[in-house]
């Protein structure tokens, strides 16, 4: 199969399957890292010094080392040390290991964003609520939260768009995401070999996906632009 027209349907099909895995990793990472990041941010702001120190050291380590390295360690470490594949074998094991690494990594980045968002709301806002007689819960939900959200949307959208592209790092432990699917046609797959264009073509998927997210976040920011913080 040598003509582009012959190759395209096969490649397209394979890339779609890979992209589905990319999307899955993306979605699972967000689902895990968005709440975990909040817990980590509370930990790092804890008044109990040993806890906040510990959390900050962990965040520093996770943010200070490459995600690719974390992926490799999380995937291989249990097997090397305990002699046993903690994550299970095959594609599902690789997916779980990837998800754990991505969630941990992104939760640490998100936690810093949340912390900035929470601490960025002036104390005067809280005090204005207090002198009106509002409770702490009312102050959080009615006053602080919205201002926090407005503050974190721009940095969060940056991180989330970075995540789209970072999912390709899971290729290092052979997760069958879209880059892996594109590369397969170089080595040879389904009767196509030595084809490099499928790998380049994966870029189109990333562009479309990050483009859609950019539009979405732009819309959210616009929705929130009716007030200034």
């Amino acid at each position: 199969m040598n003509t582009f027209a012959e190759q395209f349907p096969i490649v397209f099909q394979a890339l779609n399957v890979g992209f589905l895995q990319t999307l899955k990793l993306f979605a699972v990472t967000l689902l895990g890292a968005i709440p975990l990041g909040l817990i980590i941010s509370f930990g790092s702001m804890s008044r109990f010094k040993p806890l906040s120190m510990l959390v900050r050291v962990i965040v520093w380590i996770v943010r200070g080392t490459p995600l690719m390295l974390q992926l490799l360690i999380i995937f291989y470490f249990p097997g090397l040390v305990f002699g046993k594949q903690l994550w299970g074998g095959g594609e599902s094991g690789r997916f779980i290991a990837s998800a754990v690494a991505f969630i941990l990594n992104y939760a640490c980045y998100f936690s810093e964003i949340y912390r900035g968002g929470i601490q960025g709301v002036p104390v005067g806002q809280q005090e204005a609520g207090q002198v009106l007689g509002l409770s702490k819960t009312q102050i959080f939900f009615r006053i602080t939260l919205m201002q926090m959200i407005k503050r974190i949307v721009p940095p969060m959208s940056n991180e989330i768009i970075t995540l789209v592209k970072d999912t390709s790092l899971a290729r290092i432990i052979a997760l069958q995401e879209i880059i892996w699917a594109g590369q397969a046609f170089m080595k040879g797959s389904q009767g196509i070999s030595g084809a490099i264009w499928p790998l380049f073509f994966t870029g189109v998927y990333y562009l479309i996906f990050s483009g859609v997210l950019t539009l979405l976040f732009g819309w959210v920011e616009k929705k929130l632009s009716y007030f200034k913080v």
Binding site: E127, L132, G133, I143, F227, V229
Partner: protein, 247 residues
């Protein structure tokens, strides 16, 4: 009976003894102005009255009810605190309006959450308050669309919406351009005319002179001079005299 009795309030931040035995009383419908140089403890005093800060010693009594007693060690519960804070309103130097709410919602937020009144009634009263500060036409605007003077007038309406017994102002015009102070002072003056009980921390001497029933001069955490507005014309203490000549 005085509406407010403040007895021997002492407050330290670490080793910094900020309030050193503050005593005064305030009658219903009176206006008390507090003047004094920077760092003399004026803001701290207002914050103690509004339970944003807790004194180490002393008593605060509103309408005969002790709302703070330094000799009682127990920290008040959140419910008790919310209750105590309702006696006072506080207008901040930098307004602290809630940016995500319209002018009307800024005023109605607390009554909607804390009173059982119907929404219609709350909004009607809020509009009357906005009318009285001259901003009814801005009810659907957001704070970022208002000038400083307008924001401060909304803040005054917001504080009044919870019907405090005593309304406190912490340098309400200090963050404003000079040409905008007049409109805010006018609103405060009209409240005085309607016999709102108020405590006003201010650097506007001629305003304090005109509007006050009593003036307290604070210096180094103590009340260094007190009396009617006349003490500004004929200062009774050397420290007050020195302070006044700095204006």
């Amino acid at each position: 009976m005085a509406i407010l009795e403040v007895k021997n309030i002492n407050k330290s931040f670490g080793r910094n003894h900020v309030l050193r035995g503050i005593d005064f009383t305030l009658e219903q419908g009176e206006v008390l102005s507090i003047i004094g140089s920077s760092g003399s403890g004026k803001t701290t005093l207002l914050r103690c009255l509004n339970s944003l800060e807790f004194a180490d010693e002393g008593k605060i009594i509103v309408n005969g009810e002790t709302i703070f007693d330094g000799s009682v060690n127990k920290r008040p519960s959140e419910k008790e605190l919310m209750q105590k804070r309702l006696h006072f309103g506080l207008v901040f130097q930098n307004f602290n309006l809630f940016p995500q709410y319209s002018v009307l919602d800024n005023v109605t937020l607390a009554p909607r959450l804390l009173t059982k009144d119907s929404r219609e009634q709350i909004e009607r009263e809020a509009l009357e308050l906005l009318e009285s500060v001259g901003l009814a036409d801005k009810r659907n605007n957001y704070p970022c669309e208002l000038s400083g003077g307008q924001q401060q007038r909304v803040a005054i309406a917001r504080a009044l919406a919870m019907k405090p017994n005593i309304l406190c102002f912490d340098e309400p015009t200090s963050a404003l351009d000079p040409e905008l102070t007049g409109e805010v002072l006018k609103v405060i003056r009209s409240l005085a005319d309607r016999h709102m009980t108020m405590i006003i921390v201010t650097h506007e001497m001629s305003f304090a002179h005109d509007v006050s029933d009593e003036i307290i001069f604070m210096d180094g955490g103590v009340i260094a001079a007190r009396g009617g507005p006349a003490i500004l014309d004929n200062p009774t203490s050397d420290r007050l005299k020195a302070f006044l000549t700095s204006f």
